[in-house]
Symmetry: D3
């Protein structure tokens, strides 16, 4: 059955510390990866989501697959890689306010993704293809996959959502801009934080100008994430803003992916822009008020649990 | 002050699981590394031990240094490496009887050890230099360090202890033999398990023949570790055996390093062969009856705690 | 020795999660039950409190009894039930702001309470009988017990405190009103949240009108709990308010029971209304600033620990 | 795609204690259910397994579904039940040698299974249908499903495996015998412990006589589980025995289900009886040497991990 | 109501480590104290047990009282001490086979017990008074209490049970002998391990001779605990032995107290010597197969749980 | 090599609870002690710090030494004490807002510090000697050490920093004043909270007057800690204030010591007063936003992690 969402990228094992790593601390295992987070967020809400990637045959690869299957994300298109290890990510709770990340992902199975891995899944179609700016930064082949996928989907009439997701550890802003700006031209939806707009538009232009230019190039919706101030959406109809849903924030990791998943879920449900933004804000609120990358994302019946929480107030 | 023991190699962070990795499990951090285990074992018994290695400047490197310092191991000769990460080791408790190991150590800081790192520490001297067959398997530079150290110490009259410690994941038996056999000629003490003797002697010869040949080549003592059957020592005076000290074994990781540390401690104390073997067996018993790579090793006042346990009975 | 407080109801085992149940989470065992919470709160302050209920002979029943005895609550009147299981309650920490409750209490030992179980304890007397609106919702026999107890105590001159405690999962507002309104006529003290007043008074009337009517019918004190705004007390002398004691709220479960226990403790100590309300607010503050249903309640010497905290500020 | 194995029954949440329940103890969540254990064991080895049952829409039901999906067990035929709760099982570690079980499963979603739930999955076919004697003991409708499935599969030429699995808490031996003896006539494989043979054969006959009678009635293989003594298989070709694989037993819960899964996996792989029994013994060994109902079951690549362990020795 | 058992002594908080203290380890709180262990063992079996001691008013003292009340042990005779702290005991799990104890009990509240504390409880009578050789070693006043209690009970016709329980850290064998030998003359039951008999009898005599002399002096039963070999009872009717009940031993702390509690319970039930010894062995088996000082002791309905375990085999 | 900082005092093991002690709670081990906290804070920033004290030879003493060595604090001057135990401190998390401390430190090894213990370390010199008002309160000999050290260092031209650190449990304000006021005359830096100024100056004078008088007596800098309001520094050049760095406070234990360590680190680095105060505020922020006495203190490379946090805002 054709999935609603098709996405691809690298899924890692995230090891979260309970305190500073230097003094020794227990670690807990979690699934990490921007694209798999979005797939899970969408799947929990009852949409069909498929994720494609290379997963090692080691025990951490088994862990990754178990988690994706548990969430009901389609993994039929996953390739197993017996020669590379699973990428790891250590998320250190240095203090109440400081988290630090360290990666062991160079040469990982996930970074070895290649065009052949995605051919069949993309040929099977989807209502939306979701890309992030992380995948093209992983390796040459991963960059090829991303560009090939954008072009192929665009040609096939599959709408594309691009989340810029700049990772300074993986590549420079210049290298990112060179890849992401052309990619953006294929997208119908672009999601970026305010300081990422220069990677998909004129670095010298301000936010409204970049958005306007993207709309002119055919993008339908430009979403600018504003952290505690919510988000702003640019379309040909103008600008719309949404605040955050007021909850107690305990973990901001994965909040952006939750926002994206909520937005896409609204799109699959045929909601108007206001409805899509509200769902995006609701999923973001679930994400930040639960520890873990995607553990807190709601099932459909749970969406109403935050109804009483006033939208628009500052997220603390 | 000149240390009693000087050793060098790679120290890693060992992450121990409480169950199968594939289903997700808590992990705890420990220090790992054959040479650092020996240094700790010797230091806990009150001898001066110095360890040399390259340690990353990341948080895991800080953890490694903290642990070594805590144990009173000299780390003045440690080099910090800001460009490479700390090697990791995952020790999975797959079932009550099965443990599995997975490494993330390729290109680690520890494997980048080079001759310059060891010059000053070795020039400062020591009563004994301890080498293992792991270090030369890590990288070209690490192999150079090992060979250079053996030759230099030998020329300077510093006795050398070599623990063969073959690691099949790091190199082939042939590659190991090519390096270790010449190394053995520099050693005064050689420690090996029964199935490692072919790496330091004629692969076609049996245990007594290999031992005899090593003694002929100038080695003073050849120690063959026999697991649950204890150990056998060959010297020019003949063969002597020691059984294991009877304890409840809960974790055999690090038992060989404990045995070595006990033997060397006896040597530093000037004990005769029987006394050295007994202390080796006692340290092995402490190691196997405590979880962790080196956490269970005794301080000097604790040696007597196992006095009541009959030596020579089968270790279960 | 005649107890100060006599109360009866169902005590359950509360299993609290550390996170979302759907992804699997550790659970910890706690004692739960509005009436037992009040008994514990009163007993910790040094008053004699007796609790009556049916407790299963299974291991969870043993747990319930152990906890009540540990707190010094009199359990001589407890009946053991070998044919029914202990009621369970799962308290899920869905996110930092959301807790959800699921019960396994249908047909429990506690719900099988009958008049015969209470005869002897009530005949022994008490300075105050405490009822809640939960017990009559459990079963036909439990409703009979509650009504019988109110009538019998009233006839015997034992003052009655009724905490409305409406539970929507157990019965409808209509069913509750039919039972609770007549019960209220026997009470000298009535405790309710603002949205529960319609269950003991004219649904069309506002708060002051309901309170006035209850006072006319013989109730001495009507306490309206206002959450973060504190509480309001109506007596023939007028209206008095108390704010909350400012603490860091981490768990609001049991806060109402703590408030009641504090009020009753003040009554047992002969405090005036102001003093009773202040102690009620203090116990509420202890309850919300500790995890658990009743673990945080203070012993008498601990009452002063919150003295520095300004009363009257908003409880967050 | 037609599954290799089709099975149905009740899946519960098993809450395992770390110590005696009466003194309070942490609990951990696990998936429980004889049929789902078998489905997981078969799926981990790479066969297609489908499980059918009624699963509550509450959070525990979500947990059950997540676990089954994570293991790759087909759940397309699962019915969701919004009116009943998930059955719970408490597995108390009373002492090192004593475990006790307490159920909260009366009226559970799982026990409400009915023929309509199984129609489509069974019509889709399978290489083997697996039944246990637990399901018909759950409720009238569950008994109907079991009998209907046996008759329907038999008529359709789908081989049936029946694991007697007598549960004294659910029904009497007489009631069980009345249902299970006719069921046995439909089975090609019958699995029972020695003291369960009277439920599928003449209570006055000894083991060989019961087995002979079952073979006469058309059963192809009768497997008698002997605990620490292994198992005995009766076929028309005679009797064959298998010992246990020697491992450290830490948890015997689920060992019988593991044995069944191993046997069926061998059958799917076309192994001869000896091969099927060996795989059964191997899976049993994995199960008893890991804590949990099914957590320890091996994937195909892991089967060889116990190769060094001598088969036939007594399991301790 | 007169208790079956009256006992007195020091109750401490035992902090148990999960590993070596020197490297830092989590600690868990438990109740410790030989006499309170016996009181709990007897109370769990349904007898009335009262414990007398001085308990600090600090939080650890509250913990002690909570635990005793939870177990249903009578604490009406307990004196609170606001000027001294609760005695602490650290139980270090140094390795799988080695536990070490460190005390912080000098000058504790418990050691300040004085005759006045025991007057009323002893005047109220009991069916049996239980003493241990620990209490007189705590302080001068504690020794006075013990001697006074023995004399007073003897004069009042209350049978006395004395468990020698020699503690080398508290006093010398000579000091102990001087106090315990006269005490023994008041006892009707004496319990000792084989190496403690010299403290209540002629140091030069062998076990049968010491037992014979004690019987001559009026002792009715002399119980000699033999560890893994069970126990031997001397009476005027001869010698009777009991083996241990075969279980998996995980913690021998408190095993002797469990043995005593089982013996006394049998005595309260009017069992013959064989029955008393069997119950003693059963309680010992429960104690050693559960972690904790007294957590594993059985309630009456649980006694049968070990029925299948063969008595008389060696305890491992 | 001469250390930058020399300090001395008592180091204890702090056992931190996860909840109220009275109901039983897990405990975790930490190192505690105002002077060792300062030494660790300074050592983490790369300065050479030496700590002197008496440390028991028991396991807790080993723990103390391991922690100090792990942090790179010089412990060559430590004396081991085989006759006294390590002082313990229980830090109870009574509620979210309330922590309580209970000590077992009377007669501890640490309190037995004597002049001879400090002679050699002080003779070796240091750039700064740090004293606290806790040490002279521990015992007669500890008071002698403190006074002797102040006089000796002063005479030798070693600048002295005195943190008043009044502990009401150890001595009265009068006793403290009698010792601390003369001590203050030797100090070049005095650190006190606002309510401790009367212990080093005229009790009737206000803060500016006390500071002025201290400056007149030769003190160079008087630092007044103001909690959530930051700190104020008095020098001959006037008054300078610093706010707190805005972080989420989760544990204020050790915050004062962190402030001192930051100030001294700035002094060792030759920073001006503003720079010293900023570093002091930064270290305080690290301390309060991490659980533990000193676990959260930064290494030099981590100082910048809080750069984004606005200094001067109120610490919550």
């Amino acid at each position: 059955m054709t999935p609603d969402l098709l996405t691809f990228g690298e899924a890692m094992v995230s090891m979260r510390s309970a305190g500073p790593l230097a003094t020794g601390t227990p670690l807990s295992m979690h699934l990490a990866g921007a694209e798999s987070n979005v797939a899970i967020g969408v799947a929990r809400l009852g949409h069909r989501a498929a994720w494609v990637g290379r997963v090692s045959t080691d025990e951490f690869g088994e862990y990754v697959l178990r988690q994706l299957r548990a969430e009901g994300v389609g993994v039929d298109g996953v390739s197993r890689d017996a020669e590379r290890q699973t990428g790891l990510m250590f998320l250190e709770q240095r203090s109440a306010d400081l988290t630090r990340v360290q990666y062991y992902r160079a040469g990982s199975a996930g970074s070895a993704l290649r065009v052949d891995d995605l051919r069949a899944p993309l040929a099977a179609g989807a209502r939306m293809l979701h890309l992030t700016g992380i995948t093209p930064a992983l390796s040459d082949t991963a960059r090829e996959v991303t560009c090939w996928a954008a072009e192929t989907a665009d040609a096939a009439g599959i709408p594309i959502c691009l989340d810029v997701n700049y990772r300074a550890r993986l590549w420079s802003r210049e290298a990112a801009r060179e890849v992401l700006t052309p990619l953006a031209a294929h997208a119908s939806t672009i999601i970026a934080s305010a300081d990422e707009l220069d990677l998909v538009g004129d670095p010298g232009a301000d936010e409204p100008a970049v958005a306007a230019e993207l709309l002119r190039r055919g993008v339908e919706t430009v979403l600018v994430k504003l952290g505690a101030d919510g988000a702003r959406a640019y379309t040909v109809d103008g600008v719309e803003e949404v605040g955050v849903v007021s909850v107690t924030a305990v973990d901001t990791v994965g909040a952006g992916d939750a926002f994206t998943a909520g937005y896409l879920s609204g799109w699959f449900d045929g909601l108007d822009l206001t409805g899509r933004l509200r769902r995006a804000a609701t999923l973001g609120a679930f994400a930040v008020s639960t520890r873990g990358d995607c553990e807190g994302l709601p099932r459909r019946a749970e969406l109403a649990l935050l109804d009483g929480h006033e939208a628009g107030s500052v997220l603390r």
